[in-house]
Amino acid sequence: MSAPVDNYIALSAVLFFIGVVGVIVRRNPLIMLMSIELLFNAANLALVTYARAWVNNAGHIFAFLVITVAAAEAAIGLAIVAVTFRRSPRVDVDEVATLKG
């Protein structure tokens, strides 16, 4: 371990912050999905950091499961984007309100 834990955690927080800003500000659904991937990665970095700090495998296992769930999430999200695009050429996340009560 070359750098102290705090540096890794701060870096993870910065990456998470960038991802949150991306999700909130951008309107392109593809870029929003990519920002969600950034969030997953920031969380994974924190998990792996603490797994290394307390030499414990559980953090690795959990990060692995997060990667798997992220793959499933990306597949479903992209399918939804594709279907939305098929229904109308304009894919604006604010206008997709069919399910709104």
Partner: protein
Amino acid sequence: MIGFWILSVVLIASAVFCITAKKPVYSVVGLLANFIALAAMYLTLQAEFLAVMQIVVYSGAILILFVFVIALLSSGVRPFDVGPDKAPRIAIPAILFGVVALGIIVVTAIRSNPVVVKPTGQDTGDAFAFGSVANFGSALFTTNLLPFEVTAFILMVAIVGVVLIAGDEGPGGVVRRKKKRAIEREPILRRAQDDRGRKVTR
């Protein structure tokens, strides 16, 4: 130590590029750099297996999925239109709120009790060293077998869901399939009208 700083600069720069790029393809390139730098960061944390999985699954599978969707959506008769690009009135409050939350996280992380990093106590060349494939696999298939099986179920549900959602007929495709067989295959624009429930003129 110097590697950590180089990698963190690459990570932050590529993440910022990813969320600020105009076109989704550029975002994918930024995300690719981010994933690879993160895999290198995992190596500095002795998570060798996870570093490989990061490259294989993220850069290999998920990003290719993104590229495919971008290519397919942009190559049709219609351009990929996302409307007005940003929401400028949201940007300033979002960034302000985010900076405050970030400050809280960083200050808490620094002021809390320092975590003493334990040595792994093994040579990195050892086959069962911390973070190696053997170490990871034995933990995954013994202690954490149930989460592993649940993951398989999640993946299967995701596959079925994607096929149902994005199948040829769209949502509710099974019901609509008979109708569609009756009419001959029509161009995509008119099929989109059919999806919205309007009458299709033939």
